[in-house]
């Protein structure tokens, strides 16, 4: 919808300006990240084909993440995907997806700027999430994604490895998310065996 063309990188400022905190798990705001919301019936062959043709990977199964050539595809609901890609490729990918979907009832939006993205790194990553989100972190399989809440705000996250996770929330509450993660990860706040 917006005119294509690269923005000046110097004009770009993420919600938390790349804030970091060191604790028993490290918290950092991720650099700008491309994010695309795709709404459509994921069971529809047209949607599946379009995703495959643009992304090089198919629609992920319920609650899972699939790695694609140009990023990841996250299952969000039976009629919603989130595609994570390079920030400066998002507009092009939106156009490609719209073109590939053709007349199939769908909606594709670049939401890269609407979100704040955080990374957790450290062996106790899942413990930090368990302090804030009502998710069973002990049985959360790798390669799955959850839409949930962190304390008082909606968020989605997935484990990027056994010791790291990526969390997405709305941009306006980036500071709240960062502070919550930082507080939970302070040295001395370890839960111990649980």
């Amino acid at each position: 919808m917006m005119q294509k063309g690269l923005s000046k990188m110097s004009n770009i400022q993420t919600a938390m300006n790349g804030a970091r905190a060191t604790g028993y798990v490290d918290v950092s705001e991720a650099p700008v990240t491309g994010m695309i919301t795709l709404r459509g019936d994921l069971a529809d062959a047209g949607v599946q084909k379009a995703v495959k043709s643009v992304m090089g990977a198919g629609v992920p199964a319920t609650l899972t993440v699939t790695d694609a050539d140009a990023g990841q595809i996250l299952w969000m609901s039976p009629d919603e995907l989130m595609i994570v890609c390079a920030y400066d490729q998002a507009d092009q990918m939106v156009s490609d997806l719209i073109a590939a979907l053709g007349d199939t009832h769908s909606m594709v939006m670049n939401v890269s700027d609407a979100r704040a993205v955080f990374d957790l790194n450290g062996s106790a990553t899942s413990e930090i999430i368990a302090k804030l989100a009502p998710i069973d972190m002990k049985s959360m399989p790798a390669g799955t994604v959850r839409r949930t809440r962190f304390a008082q705000i909606p968020a989605a996250f997935w484990m990027t490895s056994n010791d790291s996770a990526r969390i997405i929330c709305f941009r306006s509450v980036g500071e709240y998310m960062f502070n919550q993660l930082r507080n939970s990860a302070q040295a001395g706040f370890e839960v111990g065996d649980w």
Binding site: L132, R171, S184, V191
Partner: protein, 1003 residues
Amino acid sequence: MSMRLKTGGRLVNRASQVEFNFNGKRLFGHEGDTLASALLANDQMLVGRSFKYHRPRGIVASGAEEPNALMNMGEGAKFEPNQRATTTELFDGLSVGSQNHWPSLEYDIGAVNGLFARFLSAGFYYKMFIHPRPFWKHIYEPFIRQSAGLGKAPTEKDADTYEHLYAFYDVVVIGGGIAGLQAGRTVAASGASVLVMEQTAHWGGRAVVDGGEIGGQSTEDFVNDSLEKLAAMDNVTLKTRMMGAGVYDHGYVLGYERVSDHAPKTTGPRHRLWRIRAGQIITATGAIERPLSFAGNDIPGVMLASAVRDYVVNWGVAVGDRTVVVTNNDDAYRTAIALKQAGLDVPVILDARANGAGSLGDTAREMGIRVENGKAIAKVKGGKRVTGVAICAQAGSGGVLEEIACDAVAMSGGWSPAVHLYSHCGGKLNWDDQAVMFRPDLNRRPTDQNGEGFVTPAGSANGELALSAVLADAIARAKEAVKALGHKAPSTRVPEASEKGENAVEPVWLMPQGAGDKLRMKTWLDFQNDVKVSDVQLAALEGYESVEHTKRYTTLGMATDQGKLSNINGLATLADALNTDIPNVGTTTFRPPYTPISMGAIAGAARDEVFQPLRQTPMQGWHDENGADYEPVGHWRRAYCYRRGSETRAQAVEREILQTRKSLGLLDASTLGKLVVKGPDTGKFLDMMYTNMMSNLAVGKCRYGLMCSENGFLIDDGVVARIDEDTWLCHTTTGGADRIHAHMEEWLQTEWWDWKVYVANMTEQFAQVAVVGPNARKVLEKLGGMDVSKDALKFMQWADGTLGGFKARVYRISFSGELSYEIAVPANEGRAFWDALLEAGAEFDVMPYGTEALHVMRAEKGFIMIGDETDGTVIPQDLNMQWAISKKKEDFLGKRAQQRSHMVSPDRWKLVGLETLDGSVLPDGSYAFAPGTNANGQRKTQGRVTSTYYSPTLGRGIAMGLVHHGPDRMGEVIEFNKVDGSLVKAKIVDQVFYDAEGAKQNV
């Protein structure tokens, strides 16, 4: 006197010394002490005053059931009242004060209340304070406020930190005694994940103190062996200092972990609240010993028999040199034996049962202890501590047979299973006549979402008191829980345990059985709330037959201990007074938490900067740095105005408005809702959502729209832009973004699920800036990149392009009446774009303006504001907005409702402008008076103010309001009330005060 013994005390480290402070006195204890054991070790028998009569109170128990020893603990930001000495682990520097005394613990003036005890009987508050009515406010309440309340309220903000943890287990076992550990082992062997939690710092519960053998091991070795085995398993989590606070539906359990109460100087949270989902919950919460009801049972030195035993065995503390034991069951004999073994004197065991005890009685006699069967305490002698007991026959009315000097009394009225957690979700109980207790009915356990039992009591909590029975029950219940989860139950064998042949407990609810009025008035049921046997009997006499009513009338069990010691004795007393059986009376309701938990734990991390999420726009940093005076708008903080130097708010608002109307203003409009709606049925859908037509909006154009609920009332408004053939962008109010998104989704998902429409909330994707004022176009042209001229971008059109290198969507819309553009850029570039506008606008002396300037300028133009002109009862017709209600459309949300008789009534108040004759600003929310009074004697009204401001543009007050027949009464003067009670005259005028022909925005 109470003291530390030379030897003994399995939990204390005698090599250590821990200093603490009680009521300003420096005292010493050991590592491993509780505050209670340390106080007793220092002969501090008197620890507080009772609530109503200010009677001296001593420690009664050794655990969570303690009613008396509550302390004001810590100072300043670390202060907390009602800390239970028996569950407070001693640490160096601990400082406490006793509660509810004045002026001092030793000499309390309030104790005079006791002299008037006959007037402070049950229901006293109900009876006394009703008449005469004015006395309540001026005499009774101040008096009660002064004398009531156990602890003090903290005066400073809590210095500690707290957090939550979400955890999931197949099985949660609450209680770390032998039943809990055995249940844990059984569950763990099945492969299910299990959490075993223990509220104290030590595993093993009572069994370790009470002794005996399990599978050839001492109980202590059995506990240690169990812990070792459990700790070695991956599927097991063991937690001490964690109390099961509550059991809720869907297997939800609250675990209250006191992380650093015992070591307050360590880094980390003080408490951690575990919010646990469990497949099955096993409550191995043990049992609580009941006091006996005899005269003077509240005098310091009278203690539960089990507690006397705990203090000797666990902490090496003797409550007295000479302890009289009084009981209706065999268990109390263990106390007599333990005391004797510790070298202390037990002058007599008074056993209320005619036949006395089994083998434990023989042991006691063999040790040289005098045992008197069928005997009771007539009364305890002493004031601030016990000096002796008068002995009588249990069967009589209290004729004293003998007096025995002693300094402690160990009492046992039998044991009640701790069924609290089992009962939180509706677990039912049966009265067991033989065991003299309410015990869980396994056929009526709490049921889950599938109608299956999900809470299972085990061990003493299930009414099993003997060692072997406890273990057998723990294994059986654990197997059931495991099977309920679909696991295969392991073949755990019941270990053999040593048994003493015990004689049955006998019910003794009053001692002696025929105690007269005088004794009953000194016989306490509820120590903390000062409820006596005579009070419950009086309540019954006055017709309070329901146990719940009696509870409230007498306050029995309503104190912070929630009647852990008093409930069963109280309802047995009530049953006796009503001449009925105990099961007919029933129990009061058990509610979480089991014992009080800290407010901090409930709040968790939610304090200070994470108390509540505050939403920030991409330009928030600039606002922060430039004097923004914020106001809350939903969870956003928006600048009300930007104050420069010593400016007042009003001065800043005036400056911002005048400069915007004169030259150029900027508004951070990023918070406005931006919902993108797409799909082949979008036109049809938006025609239903809005009162006016949206399907025929041309691509590239904008239209203002109104949204109503199905009841016809206005819920939101905003400008809609047609983006392409099947895509529209709907602006909502700031507060409406999430709400209207949900509203659209609800209709799409529940009613029109077959319509092909998708909605995306794109609010935060864009930073949006309103560029407003006669120089608005000039500044955009200066940035350059797209044609924003009058002809290229007409009023109520939009266009995509670039401005100063920023990709932008420009809407030519105006909420101020000036030439105005609202420009959306990607949020990450919002701050840079804002800065670019400030730089380019410098030559026009650009001024960012806040929400108040926005409000005033829209009011000058007569534009409505959702939330000001609307309040949930206003329909578009009230605001003379018939022009925005389509007559062509077959239907829209609210259409039918707006045809109801009341909605079309000509008597509805309608929107007009209001101008005070003296130029003053009408008070917000002011009412227009009408002649006469209504049925309630209140002044009649004929209208009210909805928006009112000082208009810097016009130099006087302007207002809008809803007035009866308003539009038909132009020029008429009506009167509005002011805060000071006087009236102000205002003329009814057109609501558009400024540039009625719209020349300013159309340039």
